[in-house]
Amino acid sequence: MESVSKLKLGVAKSVGAASRLSGRGGGTSLPGKLLLRLQDDAIARLSSELPRGAVVISATNGKTTTASLLASVLGRSRIPVVHNRAGANMAGGIATALLDATKHGQVQGQLGLFEVDEAWTARIVEQTQPSVLLLANLFRDQLDRYGELETLADSWQQMIAQLPAETRVVLNADDPLLAGLGADRPNTLYFGLTDTSHAEPVPRHAADSKFCRRCGAPLEYEAVQLGHLGIYRCPNGDFARPTPQIAATKITTHGMEGSEITISTPDGPIDCELPIPGLYNVYNAVAATAAAHALDLTAGAISGGLAAARAVFGRVETLEIGGHSVALMLIKNPTGANEVLRTIAEESAPFDLWIALNDKIADGRDVSWIWDADFEMLAGKVGQITCSGTRAEEMALRLAYAGIDRKRLIVERAVEKSFDAAVADSVRAATPIFALPTYTALLELRTAIAKRGDAPSYWGST
């Protein structure tokens, strides 16, 4: 395939540099968008220059973390990657990552590592022709934007049917909506969790897909790890969870500190210490391990890479504010929120919470989902809860109906102001505080914090 002309690359690059300097944002996808306007197949052309091809990762929950875990493993393996690490995961973001990696008209780097929005996955896969395609989970999320899960699963089915036989498809065996997608491909690699000591016997009500895609009967679960992920089978024998070749066989969780896991692979077991918390991150680690295995990376690189993982932007990030640490955790859909709630509810001491619910396009304009998340887990554990964001009021109402005393609830729509006040209260009360924003509230908070720089005195004085 012909490359993209130096002139077009140069124009798009200079626009990117200008937009980043102006600080007006958009720098993570704007140059790529412009490049795509100049050359509509730029992603296909540039990614074809990558000698090891590309890894495409998609999922409702955890794709940013999984990509970052894999990036850490690839770093240990000394494989230079082109990675859309800023999380801009539609065409513009991926084109920007490729553009940024060009030098003298040529893409520098060995392997593409692209985390891709679910709705864009089929198009990006067609253009990048990845060597590894990792599909990690499908949960209910932003139905106003993505549509129904079944429709998305059907489109992924078609996408996989069109892939060449040598493409390595990596699927979550524990997700009944995805596991069946690899049935016709003998080299499908499955990952999952076989240690069921953290599992629940029946799905929570927020679980999304609990029915056999063939006969419609409710799936029988032997164990539910989270949401609809677990060990399941159709009662009529149509379908059962495939045996994962890459499996977490032993999981020990240590609250917010992280987990110790043993992952079995066809090359032998890998022990690793994962420094990010929650069972959902165990899934991310096993998914990253499966992709690493598909890329023939070594056990040493995998365990070292996972152990060196840092939480990525907003996916459990700790801020030090006036000597007080605030754990930031993104919430965006019922299953993801439940896992965050499950992780913080394990804390033994009482804590405060700041929750920011926005209803902008990137959050999903429909806030119905909060009624499917199990905020009931917080009852009796939480000191004060501040509800913020454009839909702060409905968030507070949800908590009241989850059994939280109304006197513990504060409603203040302004994100920065309410955050400052909540942190100041928690400093005074010497109580730990967790911050749970939706996506655009997280961006808003991050921008506000970045503007101030590291000025602990400011935080302490509010």
Binding site: E150, R365, E393, A396
Partner: protein, 254 residues
């Protein structure tokens, strides 16, 4: 009405028809009953289970994916249609939301098939080419002579058309409503309510939860007022999200 009434709810296919967190509606009804010392009983009726129209005061059916609706429609006709028709006729409250609303009518016509509905109200739903109708929505209708507002979120591919003489639930103030064309939203016949305001619409409209509770308990019951500060704020917030002004907020206050 005796001294301690009980609100007996029958939820239809709750394990399937729950796509937009319909559980929020049940939570609201339950907590408000408990706060008032009213008994609360929630029964689920899944596939293959028959329904006793006299054993419940309120029947609820929520939203599902197209595939879910197709799955349940046949069973619903077989095991529940007669009972629900009798319940509707007898003045029981039926609240049907989103996909459940579509199933109240004669049929739901999809690209490659026609799903037969309960036929309790005189309406048809058709999947027409074009975008899904998605967004915040706000409708207005009269309750006991006063105008009230219902605010929520809609997300539907089907367009619903009421036969002449079949009354809508309300008039669209903001959003799409039944079909994005005629300015009507939902259906309201006797005590049967159908609406595209999906999922947890009662948390956004606590007044409507109380209205349904009153109707379900026989209509002449006085409900004790509750501390509804947060409920009022959430209602105003839903109105604001739909683009409603402060005048509309005043309109909805008690």
């Amino acid at each position: 009405m005796n001294d301690s009434p009980t609100l007996r709810i029958c939820a239809l296919y709750p394990s399937r028809m729950n796509i937009y967190a319909d559980r929020g509606n049940m939570l609201l009804l339950q907590h408000r009953c408990e706060a008032r010392g009213i008994g609360f009983e929630l029964t689920a009726s899944e596939a293959g289970e028959h329904v006793d129209p006299d054993a419940h005061d309120l029947f609820y059916i929520g939203g599902g994916q197209d595939s879910d609706q197709i799955q349940i429609a046949g069973d619903m006709l077989e095991t529940k249609q007669a009972a629900l028709a009798e319940a509707a006729e007898g003045g029981k409250v039926i609240l049907a939301v989103c996909g459940g609303y579509q199933l109240l009518g004669e049929y739901y016509e999809l690209a490659d098939q026609k799903v037969e509905g309960l036929g309790i109200v005189d309406l048809r739903t058709v999947r027409e080419p074009g975008e899904r109708l998605i967004g915040n929505v706000m409708i207005e209708f009269e309750v006991d002579g006063s105008p009230r507002v219902l605010a929520g979120f809609e997300n539907h591919g089907g367009r619903t058309y009421l036969e002449s003489g079949c009354p809508p639930l309300g008039r669209v103030l903001k959003g799409h409503g039944n079909n994005g064309k005629d300015g009507f939203e939902g259906v309201h016949v006797n005590n049967v309510f159908g609406t595209y305001l999906h999922g947890p619409l009662l948390p956004k409209n606590a007044w409507f939860a109380d209205h349904l509770t009153r109707l379900a308990l026989g209509g002449d019951i006085e409900l004790e007022p509750l501390d509804d500060d947060l409920e009022d704020l959430a209602h105003e917030s839903a109105i604001r999200a739909a683009g409603g002004g402060s005048g509309l907020m005043r309109l909805t206050q008690r």
